[in-house]
């Protein structure tokens, strides 16, 4: 490996955005046949580094080296020409075009006279999806795909390029176990073929599972590059954060009070059916299940984003009329939504305005809004959540992914809700902040907040929840108390292999393929989970 130069490398690269120095003297070498991990907290500069390699940004100083020779990428096109494929952190799809067109945009299979060969286009897409083990229709438009499915399409797009270098910026953040396992299989195949891979994730176990070498960044500065063999998770965290980290999942003992959120027989035809549960004050209830089981949709309906066809939602003693987030909010509900770029934030708005948007009424002094109150409140929350930012008047669009998520949290926590529904609370959030968010949730629960947490991160579900509700194909299939919740019980319910925990005997009948598919997948991927039992467990997540 050492005779030939690295396929792609960065040498002493600096990149600044105005006053923010996103990268300072960072070097990185990507070797063929190796999967390289990039670790760092939110805002450490990982995505900036990726975009520099991809030709989106040009380094202010330093060089990009291709096969040992300096190159200048004048745009993403140049990098693609050089054989660099990138999965960006935020999906970059064309909503109006079909999934197949999205994947092959600019590289469509051609027939005579340079026309697009639609048959081949469809067939090749189908092949890719088969390789990734997902059931997506190549012809459907990308609009309306869930975040997870969007991520899948991005992955398909990148691997279809047959590139020499594959860069993956948090590709797994939205995925559940099965898809992650498939992705890893594909990545290892590429590795065997001699490609160089760069992998970013905030789930450390994934890094240990997949990669051989890791480079750590902190606040835009290069910290270290070392082999993962012999490194422990604590070592890695130490390098990322610069200090020892406290325990993850700091679950507080709380006194659980009266039910605050009562959902009964909620049904939205074609989406979810007959969902009933309660969340009591001081309690954290996790809503687990596979991607696409209808968890987010339930949350949306409760909060009034979507209407429901039957059933009712009560907050405290008030029965919500449905279909109005405004009334839901005044009843004390808050929803941290799934898609922060579309639903959580006004991307071109400033940090302070985004945080203030949910409490316009309480910011008023007389008829007009007090800038001071607005700014003070935003500053309070920014400190409380350790937001990394330049000015409060900066637009949130330029914050790193994890910091954006914190702004969304601040925006909702500052409404002082009595029930907090939180959809993937720590997606894209680094380990340090993750434990902060968990501590915060625990504390809030301790103060009597009722929390309904949707999460695809099993350790998080098991670590945080007093009770786990599991959904499968639009139905609630299990309710598991904390002391009985294990990876096995939750995954079994999530894949439809429900046993005695079945809620009030509503045995879910229609699970045709999902269960069997999941077992099959596990068998196939049995080898990969050898190093990390957790990820093997995850691999059971079947796609319905």
């Amino acid at each position: 490996m050492s005779e030939s130069p690295p396929i792609l490398a960065l040498k002493d690269v600096c990149k600044a955005f105005g006053a923010v120095r996103a990268l300072q003297d960072v070097s990185l070498e990507l070797w063929g046949g190796e999967i390289h991990a990039l670790a760092g907290e939110n805002g450490a500069g990982k995505s900036t580094l990726v975009k520099t390699l991809a030709g989106v940004h040009r380094p202010d100083e330093g060089q990009v080296l291709l096969d040992g020779r300096p190159v200048e990428f004048h745009g993403p096109g140049d990098a693609q020409q050089a054989g660099v494929a990138v999965i960006y952190q935020e999906p970059t799809l064309f909503p109006d075009l079909s999934v197949a067109e999205n994947i092959f945009m600019g590289r469509q299979p051609r027939s005579k006279f340079g026309r697009i060969d639609r048959g081949a286009l469809r067939a090749e897409t189908a092949k890719l999806f088969e390789r990734l083990g997902v059931a997506l229709d190549p012809d459907r438009p990308a609009r309306g795909l869930s975040i997870a499915d969007q991520q899948i399409v991005e992955i398909a797009k990148a691997i279809s390029r047959d590139a020499r270098v594959l860069i993956m910026d948090e590709p797994t953040a939205a995925l559940s176990g099965n898809e992650v396992a498939r992705l890893f299989t594909v990545a290892r195949t590429l590795q065997d073929q001699g490609c160089a891979l760069l992998f970013i994730s905030h789930r450390l176990e994934e890094i240990f599972d997949l990669c051989q070498r890791v480079t750590t960044l902190r606040d835009g500065r290069y910290i270290s590059t070392e082999l993962l063999d012999g490194l422990t998770a604590d070592d890695l965290v130490q390098r990322m954060v610069g200090r020892e980290l406290d325990t993850l999942y700091p679950k507080q003992e709380t006194t659980i009070g009266a039910p605050v959120l009562k959902v009964s027989r909620l049904t939205r035809e074609g989406v979810f059916t007959d969902v009933s549960f309660e969340v009591r004050s001081g309690e954290i209830v996790a809503l687990a299940g596979l991607v696409g089981a209808g968890r987010s949709e339930v949350a949306r309906a409760i909060f009034g984003i979507d209407r429901y066809d039957a059933g009712s939602v009560e907050v405290g003693t008030v029965e919500l009329s449905g279909g109005s987030p405004t009334t839901a909010m005044s009843a004390g509900l808050a929803l941290v939504p799934e898609d922060r770029r579309q639903q959580g934030l006004v991307m071109e708005g400033s940090i302070e305005r985004n945080i203030g948007l949910t409490q316009l009424r309480s910011l008023r002094r007389g008829p007009v809004i007090s800038r001071k109150v607005e700014r003070d409140r935003a500053a309070d929350w920014a400190i409380r959540l350790q937001l990394k930012y330049g000015r409060l008047s900066d637009v949130v669009g330029v914050l790193s992914g994890g910091n954006q998520q914190k702004v969304v949290l601040a925006k909702w926590l500052s409404t002082e809700p009595s029930v907090l529904i939180i959809d993937e609370p720590t997606r894209g959030i680094d380990v340090g902040t993750k434990s902060e968010v968990h501590r915060l949730l625990s504390e809030l629960a301790g103060q009597g907040l009722a929390v309904l947490m949707i999460s695809s991160d099993l350790p998080e579900v098991l670590g945080m929840a007093d009770r786990v509700l599991v959904m499968h194909e639009g139905r609630l299939t299990a309710e598991i108390p904390r002391d009985e919740a294990t990876e096995e019980t939750v995954m079994a319910a999530a894949t439809g292999q429900t046993r005695q925990e079945d809620v009030s005997g509503r045995a879910s009948s229609g699970q045709r393929s999902a269960g069997s598919e999941a077992t099959e997948v596990t068998k196939e991927d049995g080898a990969l989970g050898a190093r990390e039992p957790r990820s093997r467990q995850r691999a059971q997540g079947g796609r319905a």
């Binding site: 954060v241 579309q342 934030l345 006004v346 071109e348 330029v398 340090g432």
Partner: protein
Amino acid sequence: MAPEAPAKASAVRPRVEAPRPLTRFVRWDVIVTALLIVVFLGGAFGTSDFATSDNLSFALDDLSEIALIALPMTLLVVAAEVDLSVASILGLCSALFGALWDAGWAIQMIIPFILVVGVVAGLINGLLVTRLGLPSLAVTIGTMTLYRGLAYVVLGTKAVAEFPQNYADLATKTVPGTPIPYPFALFILLAIVTAIVLHATGLGRSLFAIGAQEEAAFFAGIRVKRIKLLLFVVSGLVSAFAGAVYTLRYGSARADNGLGLELAVIASVLLGGVDFDGGKGTLGGVIAGVLLIGLLRNLLMLRDVATEIQSIVTGLLLIVSVLTPRIAALVRQARRHPRGATPSASS
């Protein structure tokens, strides 16, 4: 729950509001205001008839309808909607004004009546947009034709004139002691109200959020549909009122009154730096834009420049006003990255 993570506290960058001289001042609305001052001074020194109070009050009076309608239009465009039917509502109300006057109605009956018509017209626009989720551009192109057509139905091609002098005076005379005509005085009042609403109230914040990211605004509990409906109704109401002003000012009610005015209004709003895609803009910029177009036209007229040239100047003005900040930005970028600029992700 005091935050206790000293290791990371240092990472939080200080909130210093560093002055950013160049970027601050190469803003769109600032440029338009500067241009306005240049035009005014140029006019005052170059053309003797320009800076007289008679001429200025004439110029302002001439702007009344455009200025009035520009206010609700600004709110709409900030919320990423548009109302192209304003000029037709103006025409319809003007026609009704004439027809009802012909039929012997008293003016104090006619005006409330046409205001109600304006509200209904706005309500139709708003309901089509909010209930059916149709793009407002499409809806208001349709209602533009519809309302203008109705104006012809009401009045045909005839013109009604001879309205009572005291009302005509209201539309043309100035507030005693100032060169400001009554309609324009009303505009100033409404502009202040609109500026406060847009820039200092929750409703204003909501408008910007809706314009920038409607879905996120909805998720934040903002009553998006209700607010949009309200905007269209206000737009209809103000256009109807402008119809009354127009009729009295010219002393003539015709079905084709204000034909093509919608583009002039939109031109002033865009000239004022409001982003047609929503979410950005200031009312100050719009006022400067309205005045700039108005004064420039007046100046060209005084200098006997053909109306065709006026149209060219208006067009060039629009282009220059959007081009200048872009070129300034490009120059800045080129200076910072001599080897070639990195396109910023946010552009």
